[in-house]
Structure formats: C-alpha cells, structure tokens
Symmetry: C2
Subunit: 710 residues, 2 copies
C-alpha cells in the first residue's frame, strides 16, 4: 500500500478509534493502532504500552467457571494460533495461572440453548506479562478468543499480541446469516465451515432456510414423502441436523430453522399434493422466481399436517424461534380455487392478505402449542398478529421501523442481500437503526439486529463461500460494532486481513477461483483469465437470471461463477486513477502503476483470444475481450495524452466514450466495474485545456461530474 | 509445450499405443491420438474416424441390467460433464436408446460386496453417431464412465468425444491406496473426495489404516475405551464407517480395514493397559518412529480381547479380508518380560519372530471364526502361515516374489511409498511383476497387485491431497495398464491433465498451496514465495523428521508443507537446460526462456528478504534465499558465458560449484531440485573450449557426466 494511502487510513482509523478511546496513550502508539485489524471493531479499544510475545511456550489457563465448550474452543484457538505461527504449541491447559500467557476467567456457562438474551460481553487485557480474558459467560469468552486471534501480529522479533485493553459487547443481539439450502443443497462441511467463519466475525444466528419450491431438505419421520419426493435425495437426516445444531452451539450460535409457508412450498406438494390449493400433481420446481403453488389455508387437513410437521421440527430444533417464511405468496392458486373463494366469503375474509393472516393465526397456535415463537418475513405483519412474533424485514427498512412502532421485535435483511452481488461498502452502510431513525429509545429496543441472506439460486458448494465471504464480515461489523464505526476505506483494509484468516477455517472463497478458472480454460495457464475476471463482477440484483437463464440443475461453473462480487482490482484502480488525476497538471502520481495495469489488461485481451478458441466453455467470454481491449486502449491513450500534456480532440473523446458505453453493457451476465474511471481518464484528456483556467481541484470535480454517466 | 517436445511425445505415445493397437487407422489420426489423455491407459485403444459432439442435448440410455448404483454413477458423470462444458445437461435417462448420445449396456450387478474377483472389464465404442459402453458388470461400466470423461476434448467447434474403440481390463486385480488415519485423523470429507479420485483413476481398494501407536480411530461398542482414551476424540463412529463403506461400494471400491497388531498398538493400551507386554500406564504416542509397546501374545486375555474386537470389526467391515499389520515389532517389551520369556521356553518358541508367528496363528483362528482372510505386512510370512493369507510387501519386491513362490498371494507397496516425497517417475517404474521376474506363469498369478501408501506422520486435512495426488495416478496406471505402457514423459503429459480433472472432485492438491503460502506470508502477495517453493521439494525418505522434529500435535503449515513432491518447474527447467546445451555451440534454443526463468528466481530471492523479515513463520526459509540467489546467479552467469561464446575460468567454475554444493544442502527439510541442471550450465561454461575438438553430442555427454555429483 502506498505511503499516502496508509497515512489516510491511519487518520481515518485514529478518528474511528479516537471516538471510543480518548486515551493519551494512543498518541504514543500510533504505529500499533494503525496495524490493528479487528473486525468487528470492539466497542472500546485502548492501546497500552508493551506487547506479549507468542512463542512456543504459549499456554492457557482457565479460572472460575470452565466447561467442555470452553475447553474445546481453547483447543481450536491454539490450533489456529499454531497454524499461523508454525509453532508447536501445547494443548494442555497450564496448571499455574501465573505461568500462563493467557488466562480466561468466566462466571458461568451461559444459556443452555443459545439465545439472543445471551450475555456476549467480554474484556480482554493484554500487557507484556499476560493476556487476561474475562467474561460473564463462556459465549463471551468465545467472542473474546476470536478477538485475541485477530490481534496476533508479527515483525522481525516474532509473533506477539499488542498491549490493549478491550471492553466489548454487541450493539445488536441478533446477528445472523441465512443460508438457503432449498434451492441448492449444501453439504454438511459447507455449513460447518461457514459456522466457523460466522463465529470468527461474531455472528450468532444461522438462519437455516430449509424448504423452498425447489427442495425440502430435512428428514421427516412423520411425513417421509417430504424429503423422499421433494429433495432429489439431497436432504439432512435428523442426526445430521442435530450434528449441525451441536456444532453451532459449541460456537455460541443459534440455529433458527425456516419452513417457508404457505407459498414457496412446491416441494411439499410433490409428495402431498392434497395440501395444495390446486389439484396437482406437482413436481419439484427447477426454475428461479415466484411460483403459484401455495398450501390450502381453508382445509383442516392442512393444519393437521402442519401440526404434525412443525411439531416434529419443534422437537428437533431447540431454538425458541421458528421461522415460517410467509413471503411472496401472490395467491393466484387461491384466486382460482372456488372452494377457497367460498370459504373466504363465508368467513368474511376480504382478500388474500387477510386469508394469509388467518393462516398465520392458525400456524401461530400450532407453534405456541410446541412452545415456539414465530418469526416471519414482513408480509406476516397484521393487526391480529401478537406482538411476541418477530418481523423479518426484507423489502426495506420502513417495515422494520413500523414493526417497532407497533411493538414487534424485528430484524433487518433489506440491505444485506448478499446474493445480489453488491459490494461490501453498500451493505456496510445499511443500518438497522440509522442515525436519523425516528424511533423512540423504547421503540428502538425492538430492533434486534439483522441477517445477511445467502439466497441459493446461483450457488454451489464450490462457489457459495465466495458469495458469502468476505463481504458478510462487513455486515457482521455493522451489527456488532458501534454505529460510529463506519469508515469504508478502513473497513476494506481490515476486510482483506480477515478474509485471509477465514481461509484457515477451510473457507474456499479465495482458493476456488483458480480452480474454476483452470477448469474453464482446461489449462494451468490462467493468468490472462484471472486478469479479466478481476475486473468483472456478476450483474447486480436479479439480472443474472434474465441475461443467462438456467435451471437449478444447471452447472454453476461458468465465468460468472468464477467472477466475484466487489472487485478489489477495480477498487484499487479507481483509487489510482483519482490520485493520478489529482496530481494535475503533473500527472506523475501512480502514472507507472496505471500504465502497467492498463498494459496488462491489453495483453490479457490479446492472450485470451486463442484461449477462448480452444475452450468452448469460455465462448460466452468472447464479447468481453473486445470490451477489455477497448477499455485498455482508451485508458492507455488517455494516460498518454495527459502525461504528454496534449489535449485529446473531442472526436477522439466521443469515439472512446462510445466504445466504453458498448463495453459497459453486461455480457455473459458480467459487467466491467472500471468503466467510470476510464471514462474519467478519457474526459480528462479532452479537458486538458481547461486546466489553465481553473484549479486542479475544480478541474477534477468537473471531470468527475462529466464522467458520471448522464 | 514447444513443438519439438510435442513431436517427441507424440512419437513415444505412438510407440506405446502402437504396441497395443496395430491398426492402420492410427496412422491417419495421429493428431487425435496425440491429444488423448487417458490415465490409466486402457489395454487397447483403436482410433476411429469421426467424433461425437457433446452438446446440450447429450443424453444417456441404459440397456440390459441397470440398478441404483449405475444410475447414481450416470448422474455423477453428467454432473462432471456439465461442470466442464457449462452446458445444462439433462439428468433424465433417455427412453429411446437410438436418441441417446451414450448407451450403457451391462449384464449384471457384479459382486454384492466389492471383491478383487470382480470383472471390471468394459468396451467403449465412440463413433460420430453414438457412444456405446458395454460391460459384464456395473463396476466395469463405472470404470468405462471414467474413461469416457477422460476422453472429453474440445476445439473451436465445441466439445466432443473422439472416435475410439477401447477394450479394457486391469492388469492387476488389487489396486489400492492406503490412508493412515492413525497418526493424523482425516475427516470424512477427505476420505470421500479421495475415494472419488481413486475411482477416477480406477483404483479399487481403500486400505484404511485405522489404528496406530498415535490413535485408535474406530468406535468399538464392545471396548469403548479404545476410542475414548486412544483417539483424542478423533474417531469414526460405526455409522460413519458404514457411510464410507457404502460410498466406496458405490464406486466399486473395497474397504480393507487394518488393525495393526501386536506392535504399533500403543493407543490400544491407553484404555486397556492389561493387554500390553509391560505394565503401563500408557499414553497416546505423539512422536514418529518405531515404538516398543506390543500386545502380550502369551496371555489368553489378549486373545479373548482380540476375539471381541476383531469379531466386532468383522461384522462392521464386509470385505473378505482383514489386515492385521504385523510390521515393525522389535519385541523389546517381550525381551524384558519374564513371564513372556518363561512362556517361550515352555513352548519351545525360539525367538521373537517365532513368538509373533504363534500370535499370528492365534489371530488367524479368530479371523477364520469370523470368516475373514488374513492380510499382513511381509513380516507375517512364516512356515506355519496358511497360504490363503495375503502377504503385503513393503521392504522390497523380493518378499513378494518369495511369497508367490511359496504359494501366497501378495501385493506390493515397496516402491509406492508416496509419503517419502519421491517423484511420480520413480513410483511409475516400480512393477509388481517386472519384465525380468523369475516367477513362473503359475506363480505370477499370486501377484495380485499393489497399494500406494499414504502414511500419516506429516499430513493434515489441508495437505494430504497434495501428498497423494497427482502422483498416485501414475501408480494407478502401473497397476491397471499393460506393462509396456511405461513412457515417463508421456505419463507426465497426461498426469497434468488428470490432475486438473481431479480438482472437479473437490481435491485440494493444487488449490491449497496458495492458501498455505498466503497464511505463511500473511499477505495476498505470494508470487516470490510461490517461485521459491516451485523449486523446492520436501526432503526424501525419513529425513524430514530428523531435520525438523515435530510431534503429531504440531502444525503442518510450514514451508515444507506448502512445497510439494515432484516439482513440475524443476522438470521443465531440466528439460530446457538439456535442450539449450544440446544446441551447442549456438546455444539459442530455450535461451530466452532460461534467462527469463533464472531472472525470475533472482528477483524472487530479493523480494523474499523483506517478506521473511515481516513473517516469523517464514524464518526457516531465510537460508534458502541465499541458496536461491546463488543458483540464479550461477545459472545466469553461465548462460551468459555460453551465449557469448566466452569460456569461464576454472576459478569461476569452482567458486560456483562450491556455492551450489552449499545450496544443495537441505534446509528447513526442503531441497532444491534444480541444482544438477545449474551445475551442468556452470561446467559447460568452463568446458566451452572443448567444443572445438569434439562433436556437440560428445561434449554434452561429457558435461553431463561431470555435472553428476561424484
């Protein structure tokens, strides 16, 4: 990282931490603060003098309450510490507290079943003598152990923990990740490694979206046709479910199951068509979108079935809450079913929303019978819904505020749809309780937190990690850290470090890209392809399916699957272009970096032609090559004009902008994310003469405004 | 690949295939033969005109016998085909045989429990109309499906299967991979993906080495202290064992369990010290090597216990064979135990070998009671051993031949110790029945095959794949293909292709290297580190433990773990140097490649200094940087002398050779594998004057001889 960026970041971080520190020691320890990469940032961090070396003699002692969960967490922590340091650390707890490098002191186990009422707070004090982690509960200690691992640093003298005093607790109690295994089944090891990653960034709810139009993924012993006919054989046995719940609990993570009803339930109807609102037969849905099948809310048989299955699942899942979905039922089957229409008339139910409210009331009674509280997507909100239900806001934050005002607890997912390929920066600014919230303090307490949602249309076991991570760590920070922790550049600085650490837990977000590219190229020589994909992101929102229709059975091995959201390369390029232009009229800053980068793109576009010829799996990339070539050429020529001090003609500019417009059009469901910066270069080249009559700062503003697409 | 190497390989391949083909069509289809990358090479391949396109309409039909195992294999094959082609293929079987691209015709299921008596033969005929796979058994069809996937090729016109007629069956019936989970436990997903990889190269035995001094890895319900006290909690439940056996059976793979007794059994004695030949107490062994603890062969209690545990395991593992180890018991505990000495005297047992033979006789009776045949390491061979036992040869091929002469069936592992970091080429030439074998045809039938052995001292779930693959594919070829298939260059050409294909099965041998380097460097910028490790291999044989002692609890995340056996870079460099020198006195061939390569090494050695400074985990690499620098400098200077036609002085030569000698010394349990080639360059530079008085060929011979270390 260039020195001036480091300075900028340091200033930002100092600002961020300054707001919670206010300690004169900080000023003397800047270099250390600058290197901290904690994510989520703790509620309070005070830098202290000194450092605790981490050597082969590092040992841990416990004091006060300790149990198997804590001891297992210590073992895992030591394994990760040993892995990073390549030191043969001892796994035996130190008998003598004074001899231990780390002392962990807890008061109690915490909730028997993980709960959002858990006390997750901890304090971590590191001096040159010892590190002390104290927490009321073992779960708090688990959170603190993750912070400890993030503190590990090194220099020529070895590994060490910097002197700090950290006091930490979460801003929100409900910090979740939804994994949709309905649309694409995910093997147990995918869930396990993602639970490890969640724990690393202090998320505490796995929202397990277990049923969808495209699959019912849990074994029911009562209604076995659910999984037998509704899952293609891809489901979790009850033993496996227990295994995942236990694995999550070990990490202080709740498992909230979702059984999405009355819509999104086609897979239920394959084995039990009698539950549907149309006669059937039904088959497992293979497409993506919103489908018509819905449970029939007017027949007692439906509720008898739901009592059976939800009762069975209530026994399997210990969490206090059960998510019943409730979203996106358009009621088209209901409209066409005369018996349903007659029922509505008879009961005075005026529309489908009211009919669904009736359905929810009945489901609520079933859940209550099994001692479960209801959570559902925002559509479930209705005057008849009791206020101990939790509202899951997905269409926008307004419903969350409205729910809070009406006295419902709520969680936010609008803004955290990680399946839509938006950058981390965009998720990072979505706040469940923004500064301008109109909620009273009392109402604000109803905002429990939020959940990132990994909807499963376009993720396979090979790619899912790269869709969740590292971006979800930024969301985890939003949900844990103080609202004032909001510097995007510093978030990205730390995200890069955390992303690497996630790899030690088996996450494949980084390493699978090379594998996907090798398969596509049928070659180990994937350099040019890597260059290309580093500039591309999958199209945003739901455009992928429009541009490149596939079914749930289609392979997820294309170029769009190898490309990742939130291109680092593009972010660095954007920053370099801005620095370069800010150096007007000299244009020396980052000049060689830009030229080298653009030349690399040009070389890649040339090298890729023969590769695409050989690899039919890359055919869809062909139009991207012309775009890449146009981008590189425009950028190189513009840079050359600027550095030579020659103004480009408007004809040249317009020709380049036209080519860039063409390059900006998505192809193969991918889009280049450097176009705006190249537009800036092109426009700047044509605007060179204006530099004489204005300041560089004003000139830059003008160029930036012109480059922003009309 | 340079054109002249392609030609060379083509000629070799034509020779190889020519010996089994003898078909005039071959001559007309050379370009296609040249591109085939089948591994193991089938018994007979005939090239036919035409090609079968693989498009989105590709479907499969079955004819004759079909069962769930076959259908599941077809589904897996389609998923892999779809993954590579990015085509949305149908998973539904074609109803009409004529409309299908591939027709599979079997006669019967094959053995209920996979057996080495299985008929694994198949025929695969591909024309421009259709592919037909016929096999007597479903297992034969599974083998043929793997060949089909290896046949997939592509060009500008799309994906296709080339026209071929393949008739195939294995040379040996027992083609195994031993995975030692005793020293390091391996999770189920590691076993599953390795079973997939085994199936891909037609291996048919997973030899599951389940107990060791360092761990007892199976749940015993009868003697639960075995796993409770002997495994650190890392063991397979009986359900998980059944799961793995089922997974293997689906792929036509046997699972032969090994319970290594009477030595290598420390972990048994932790829970059951009364079985030992010394009083105990015992604890789980953490070191590597040969240890003293051994079961007491003189007490009835031992046999009662073995009857219990082996009986329980006989019920769990359906294979006809049970491996009882029997290796490396030095009998030191026996020598010191007076009761044992008295027993030997009383029974007239003259030495420890005889005592172990007595023990084996008793174990044999137990196995017979449970209808199991015995297999054990070669030490079990003894006049009293019945000839239906299988001898597992590990110290050398002599014992295999001796066993065959005495009428025992035997398998070979000597030569296939993949834990020792030797290159694939070395394993490839080890033949269970070499051409110069002195066995009669009848005796030769006793040679059943062989097994690669993945001993587990230094492998973690992160690194084990890189120790097994791709080298084991070369061993798989040795055990399946005709003996005449033995061209090393062509093996490596195909191995590179197969290695990439293994990645689609989830194997991590390639992708985990980057992850390990990122962790070591604590940075994404691992280019120079990758260059360094590409020239290094772990030291061979058992020197790693001597040079860099660790326990079984130590992290396997060091540079030696990131480096892989059998460096491709070194092999290519060696070849380039030879080509370059063969071009004497012009020295133009590969000159620029060599210069670029050596310069890259020099740059890497410079860039690595600061990286090592920052990363204490890389401290052990520091001495390697000087070596790398010396190697690069010597190579560059020598190349410069040669291309300029200037003879180097003997002083210069001696100084360089001395530096290279220093560089050749292993450091951090790693060694450079390019030294001999650089020595060649250095010596050649000093020998330039001799070129005038001899032919380039003679001159090259002389240089080669001089460069070979005295």
């Amino acid at each position: 990282m260039p020195a001036n960026m480091r300075t900028a970041i340091y200033l930002c971080l100092a600002f961020v931490l300054g707001s919670v520190i206010g300690n004169p020691v900080v000023a003397n320890q800047r270099s250390t603060v600058n290197e901290l990469a904690l994510m989520p940032v703790p509620a309070s961090v005070k830098i202290q003098p000194g450092r605790l070396p981490v050597s082969a003699t590092f040992t841990v002692a416990t004091k006060g309450y300790a149990d198997d969960r804590l001891r297992a967490a210590i073992t895992r922590m030591i394994a990760r510490l040993a892995g990073r340091t390549v030191l043969s650390l001892s796994y035996d707890l130190a008998a003598d507290e004074n001899a231990a490098a780390l002392v962990i002191q807890c008061e109690r186990a915490g909730e028997l079943v993980p709960s959002f009422k858990e006390d997750e707070s901890y304090r971590l004090n590191v001096t040159d003598k010892q590190a002390r982690l104290t927490a009321p509960t073992v779960v708090g200690a688990l959170r603190g152990l993750e912070t400890l691992l993030q503190l590990l640093q090194s220099d020529r003298d070895g590994f060490f923990l910097p002197g700090v005093e950290i006091t930490d607790q979460p801003r929100f109690q409900w910090r979740g990740l939804l994994i949709d295994v309905g649309r694409h089944y995910q093997p147990l090891e995918v869930l396990r490694r993602n639970l490890d990653a969640m724990a690393a960034v202090k998320l505490n709810v796995l929202h397990w979206h277990l049923s969808e139009d495209q699959g019912f993924r849990v074994e029911s012993k009562k209604y076995p046709k659910l999984q037998q006919m509704g899952s293609d054989g891809l489901y979790y046995t009850q033993d496996q479910v227990k295994d995942i719940i236990g694995y999550a609990r070990e990490r202080g993570i709740r498992v909230v199951p979702e059984f999405d009803i009355p819509g999104h339930a086609t897979s239920w109807l394959v084995g039990y068509p009698e539950l549907g609102s149309a006669p059937g037969p039904y088959k497992i849905e293979r497409g993506a979108g919103i489908f018509e099948p819905a449970l029939d809310p007017t027949r007692e048989q439906t509720y008898k079935f739901l009592d059976g299955i939800l009762g069975e699942m209530a026994g399997l899942f210990p969490d206090e809450y059960m998510h019943i979905g409730g979203d996106e039922n358009e009621g088209k089957q209901w409209d066409r079913n005369q018996q349903i229409q007659a029922f509505m008339k008879e009961k005075g139910i005026k529309d489908n929303h009211a009919l669904q409210a009736y359905f929810n009331q009945r489901v609520l009674k079933i859940l209550q019978k099994y001692n479960k509280k209801m959570i559902g997507w925002e559509e479930i909100m209705h005057p008849d819904l009791p206020t101990n239900a939790v509202i899951h806001s997905w269409r926008g934050p307004a419903s969350l505020a409205e729910a809070a005002k009406r006295g419902y607890n709520g969680i936010l997912s609008a803004g955290y749809y990680i399946d839509l390929s938006f950058p981390a920066s965009q998720h990072y600014v979505a706040d469940p309780l923004p500064e301008n919230s109109t909620l009273s303090a009392e109402e604000a307490k109803h905002v429990l937190g939020g959940e990132a949602t990994m909807w499963g249309e376009w993720v396979s076991p090979e790619t899912i990690d790269s869709r969740i991570w590292p971006r979800t760590a930024a969301i985890a920070e939003r949900l844990w850290s103080p609202r004032s922790v909001n510097n995007v550049d510093d978030m990205y600085r730390r995200l890069a470090v955390i992303s690497r650490q996630l790899e030690e837990l088996g996450l494949t977000h980084e390493k699978n890209k090379g594998m996907l590219l090798r398969r596509l190229a049928n070659s180990d020589n994937t350099g040019p392809l890597r260059t290309l994909t580093s500039l591309l992101e999958p199209v945003k929102e739901y455009r992928r399916y429009e541009m490149r229709p596939q079914t749930m059975l289609s392979p997820l091995t294309g170029l769009v699957d190898a490309a990742r959201p939130d291109s680092d390369t593009a972010r660095h390029f954007t920053s370099n272009v801005d620095e370069f232009l800010s150096d007007a009229p000299r244009f020396a800053l980052y000049r060689s970096t830009l030229e080298r980068t653009l030349t690399e793109w040009q070389n890649a576009s040339r090298a890729l032609g023969p590769m695409v010829d050989r690899s039919p799996a890359l055919q869809e990339a062909r139009p991207l090559l012309n775009s890449l070539s146009a981008i590189a050429e425009a950028g190189l020529e513009a840079t050359s004009y600027l550095t030579a001090g020659n103004a480009a003609t408007t004809e040249w500019r317009d020709a380049q902008l036209a080519r860039l417009d063409e390059a900006a059009k998505p192809k193969a469901a991918l889009e280049f994310v450097v176009i705006t910066s190249v537009r800036k270069l092109v426009i700047a080249a044509a605007e060179l003469p204006q530099l004489k009559s204005t300041t560089p700062v004003e000139w830059n503003k003008r160029v930036t405004i012109m480059a922003a697409k009309p």
